[in-house]
């Protein structure tokens, strides 16, 4: 959970026109949910029924080189995480769902049947991170060429840097 200190209201400006809307910094204390892989799809459907109309973002994170991240009790960290950001327009709220995905079996249920807009985003997560979304109608690469091998955004995939003059070191700067 991230918490930020609320900003003091600025002095010397005209009266706020919509004072009741909380400021960005106050709103960023996001709500997080950590379902298990098996209950993930169910939870997403439940959120949709409660009033989260829009699936803002689906992405994946590879925690290979940062295994010691803070997680709530009862959640076993795995190598990959699938992160889904949902938006409720009626309640003006966001929620973030983080699912742990093991390296040995990198696959999760697809939420395309709940939010059709997650289609392209799941394909991107598959293409760049290698996570298979079971039940997705078209699980093919979307950004890399079809015959590309490997998943570039993984931490064990190099940047692919060509050595240039004055920066002889092959690794990151």
């Amino acid at each position: 959970m991230t918490e930020t200190t609320p900003n003091a209201s600025t002095a010397g400006t005209t009266a706020a026109i919509h004072p009741e809307v909380p400021r960005l910094a106050d709103r960023l204390v996001d709500q997080l949910a950590f379902p298990h892989r098996d209950t993930y799809h169910q939870m997403v459907s439940a959120f949709r029924d409660v009033g989260f109309e829009l699936c803002a973002d689906v992405c994946a994170v590879d925690y290979l080189t940062h295994p010691g991240r803070t997680l709530p009790a009862g959640v076993t960290p795995e190598r990959f995480e699938v992160v889904v950001n949902l938006l409720s327009m009626s309640m003006r709220q966001r929620v973030r769902i983080r699912v742990q995905v093991p390296e040995s079996d990198p696959s999760v249920d697809s939420i395309v049947d709940v939010y059709p807009g997650a289609d392209a985003m799941e394909r991107e997560a598959f293409d760049l991170m290698g996570i298979v979304f079971a039940g997705h109608p078209d699980m093919t690469r979307i950004l890399m060429p079809e015959d590309w091998e490997g998943h570039p955004l993984r931490k064990d995939y190099g940047v692919g840097r060509v050595p240039v003059q004055f920066k002889e070191a092959p690794g990151p700067r």
């Binding site: 890399m144 060429p145 995939y157 190099g158 940047v159 692919g160 840097r161 060509v162 240039v164």
Partner: protein, 186 residues
């Protein structure tokens, strides 16, 4: 016209000059805008930095009707064979301006996804640096190309034999007159 086979005398020299004048004053670019540089290329085609005064405002969509390919933007691995295909479809004589640092050398993206310089795929005549190059830079590149066409260097493909006099300098420098070299005032 196959200049390469002509016997050069003072009569054919005049015809050559005429043909070169025609070629350089009506270079039609092919639309090959890829990324941010494409927007600056469109600005060059628009009113403020008009290239219509150089005879170039007709961006031909079909590469068969185009003379110049301005590679404007970063070339990704997926796009590289397409670039080569479009270049091959263009008719001789054809020229390539590599616009921007991403096209010239990979730019700030030295990674798996970007071809490090479009000259790995097509032969480039003029490189225009910048990220993105301001329209004045692109105009300078176009004028440099015009000079290159005018002085006839264009009948020699880059990479072929260099005249003995220039080998000493280690490279070929276009004989661009000073009037073009001076920075254009804002």
């Amino acid at each position: 016209m196959g200049f390469e086979d002509l016997q050069h005398n003072f009569l054919t020299g005049r015809i050559e000059d005429l043909v070169k004048w025609a070629r350089r004053n009506s270079v039609w670019p092919a639309t090959f805008g890829l990324a941010c540089c494409a927007i600056e290329m469109m600005s060059v085609g628009a009113a403020d930095y008009d290239i219509s005064r150089l005879g170039m405002e007709v961006f031909r969509a079909s590469p068969r009707q185009a003379d110049l390919m301005v590679v404007a933007g970063r070339v990704s691995q997926k796009m590289a064979p397409v670039l080569r295909q479009v270049y091959d479809q263009m008719m001789e004589p054809k020229w390539v301006i590599s616009m921007g640092v991403c096209a010239s050398s990979g730019g700030m993206f030295n990674n798996y996804a970007i071809v490090q310089g479009v000259d790995q795929i097509v032969p480039v005549d003029v490189y225009a640096p910048g990220c993105p190059p301001s329209p004045e830079t692109l105009l300078h590149a176009i004028l440099t190309l015009h000079e290159k066409i005018r002085t006839g260097e264009i009948t020699r493909r880059p990479g072929t034999s260099v005249p003995a006099g220039e080998q000493a300098t280690g490279g070929w420098v276009p004989t661009v007159p000073d009037a073009v070299r001076v920075a254009t005032p804002r």
